[in-house]
């Protein structure tokens, strides 16, 4: 479903060149629950952004459902992100002026769905994530774990084929972290949604069907010593 070939990403910070990813090959099957692990600065977020079409590679190719998407225009990529991908970020990723349910259905509204359709779906999603009574709360009235579950519901609202989560549990205590990971696993098992998540946490490893490791921008299927 997702495939990258010879991916390279170089950041330019003024005159300094920062290599973030170097010659990465990866294939992700449909229905996978993949965990990307690695030290801080190893390129995990960068890789996730490439896969999620948020940023484009310096070199190499990305295929999404057998289509080469590495050279698409930003507006085309934006459409793919909206309709076929979901994102969960580390923190503060909800829009503060919208209620939980409004945050959830915003992408559906953007996709042009009918209010009757997306309002129900948003409510159902929040309900299944245990947030029914928090639907009309603003993000600042929610705990970190609750916010993160709202973000998961938002990522799900357009029935994406793949969800990207960048350290979704990093700022949570272990109980909330577990709830968030349970939610992701539930999506994976219930709807067959492909999940690709980044984590530092060894506890999260248990949720993955496959784990890959990044070392200084290079990929390995095995954990280093």
């Amino acid at each position: 479903m997702l495939k990258i070939e010879g991916l390279k990403k170089i950041y330019h910070m003024g005159d300094v060149i920062v290599p973030a990813l170097n010659n990465v090959f990866l294939e992700v099957e449909e229905g996978e629950m993949l965990c990307i692990m690695g030290k801080s600065g190893s390129g995990k977020s960068t890789l996730l952004h490439m896969l999620g079409l948020i940023d484009s590679p310096s070199k190499g190719k990305i295929f999404f459902k057998d289509q080469d998407v590495s050279k698409l225009s930003e507006s085309r990529r934006s459409k793919i992100r909206l309709s076929q991908m979901g994102f969960v970020f580390q923190e503060y990723a909800l829009l503060p002026e919208l209620t939980a349910v409004e945050n959830v259905y915003l992408p559906a509204k953007m996709l042009g769905r009918w209010p009757s359709e997306y309002q129900d779906r948003a409510a159902t999603l929040l309900e299944s994530l245990g947030l029914l009574d928090r639907m009309h709360h603003r993000p600042r009235e929610l705990s970190g774990g609750q916010q993160q579950r709202v973000a998961i519901a938002r990522a799900m609202v357009n029935k994406p084929e793949v969800i990207f989560a960048d350290e979704p549990t990093a700022n949570l205590d272990s109980t909330s972290g577990k709830q968030v990971m349970d939610a992701l696993r539930w999506l994976n098992e219930q709807f067959g949604t492909t999940i690709i998540f980044v984590s530092h946490d060894t506890e999260d490893k248990g949720y993955a069907k496959r784990i890959i490791y990044l070392y200084d921008g290079k990929l390995s299927e095995e954990e280093e010593g």
Binding site: D55, S78, L95, M110
Partner: protein
């Protein structure tokens, strides 16, 4: 369509759930900007209006009829006055003869035009009799009586523009010696003094037409000028043509043509007007610009996330534009209501005193509406700039600051 819906959704949430006081202050700023945009032009418009109406009601009326040969009098003027008065749309007509003269009171001398007027019709055409500050106006057939404009009488008012050239201390009841240009010299009792505050009008002196024919017997049934006042809404050009058709030896001048000397003031006023409006618009632009800019900077990460999840840049920009439009629109509406219900009545109660008298704010609804649109355009532009810059940056950088 979808873009508009989502932008409306985001904008309305950010207006009604965002910082309340920031919203209130923004609207307040726009109220002030809008009032600024209206106030000076309305005041200056009031000044122009005042100048024009003073000119008409004290000096030139709507149309001035003269002999087409310079220096000649209009013959059989009485008949012509009646014919003009019969034209549809004419309110009133009066004729006058003029001669220049030197006036003397004790050791003070002054030069002035003395006009012989038909008192009754003069009162219909001009409002000078309403501006008496001493004594009373002429009555038909008054003998040996003269009415003086304040600028020639002086009347003890040392603040008058032309006081030093006046008789300085002439008052009602004084006797002045008048030396006419045709050699006749006569004593007149000052019956009254008027002050219109329009210098050109206040320089004149008036005597009755019967008195004038005593002084200048050759002027019987002749006039230097016939002045015509029109009914409101009358077609000036059409009446002008009809008058010209009555006699081949006359020419006419409209008040607009005679306003030439007022025109130069009007033009400088318009320049000031434009500068003040430009400043008001710049303030409006900067207000919205700063508010949008600060918001965009604060929400850099949020904008990055909106884009990451697939909200298109035009949607985000439009949301900012709609928000700016909302603040500006509400500000302008409140400003307009305040202007009509508070500012104008307040100014009417405590008017600004200009050299021509009290000036009132001119309320012009078309002008007010036009300014709402101008302000809306300015605010959209000023919201677009920062929003555009923020939205077309790299998503990754926006998210990670």
């Amino acid at each position: 369509m979808r873009t508009i819906q989502v932008a409306l959704f985001i904008a309305s949430r950010s207006i009604f759930r965002g910082n309340f006081w920031l919203g209130v202050m923004t609207i307040l700023m726009m109220v002030l900007v809008y009032l600024n945009l209206l106030f000076a032009p309305s005041l200056l418009q009031g000044v122009i209006f005042q100048m024009n109406s003073k000119l008409r009601e004290t000096l030139v009326a709507d149309l001035t009829v003269e002999s087409s040969t310079p220096g000649e009098l209009i013959p059989s003027s009485g008949k012509l006055v009646d014919e003009i008065a019969a034209i549809n749309g004419v309110d009133s007509v009066t004729q006058s003869r003029t001669i220049s003269a030197q006036l003397q009171l004790a050791s003070e001398r002054g030069t002035a035009e003395v006009s012989g007027i038909d008192v009754e019709s003069f009162k219909d055409v001009y409002s000078i009799p309403k501006y008496m500050i001493e004594g009373s106006f002429l009555t038909p057939g008054d003998k040996d009586q003269i009415v003086l404009g304040a600028q020639i009488a002086g009347a003890g008012k040392a603040k008058l523009e032309l006081y030093s050239d006046s008789l300085k201390n002439a008052h009602a009841g004084d006797v002045v010696t008048v030396k006419f240009a045709n050699g006749v010299t006569k004593k007149y009792t000052v019956k009254g003094i008027y002050q219109t505050e329009f210098v050109q009008a206040d320089l004149k002196t008036l005597i009755s037409s019967s008195e004038f024919t005593q002084v200048s017997p050759t002027s019987v049934d002749k006039a230097n000028a016939i002045n015509v006042k029109l009914k409101p809404g009358a077609n000036q050009d059409k009446i002008d043509q009809e008058i010209l058709g009555l006699n081949p030896n006359i020419k006419t001048r409209s008040w607009q043509e005679r306003a030439g000397f007022v025109q130069s003031y009007t033009e400088s006023i318009q320049v000031i007007n434009k500068i003040l409006r430009a400043v008001a618009l710049v303030v409006g632009f900067l207000t919205i610009f700063i508010i949008t800019y600060v918001d965009v900077v604060n929400k850099k990460r949020q904008i990055g996330i909106e884009r990451a999840i697939g909200i298109s840049p035009p949607t985000i920009i439009l949301a900012y534009e709609l928000r700016a439009l909302f603040y500006t629109f509400i500000g302008a509406i409140i400003g307009a209501i305040l202007f009509v219900t508070v500012v104008v009545p307040l100014e009417a109660r405590y008017p600004f005193h200009f050299p021509l008298g009290n000036v009132f704010l001119d309320v012009d609804y078309a002008f007010m509406l036009r300014n709402v649109f101008i302000l809306l355009l300015v605010s959209v532009a000023s919201a677009t700039l920062p929003a555009w810059r923020a939205v077309y940056g790299k998503i990754v950088e926006a998210i990670w600051g």
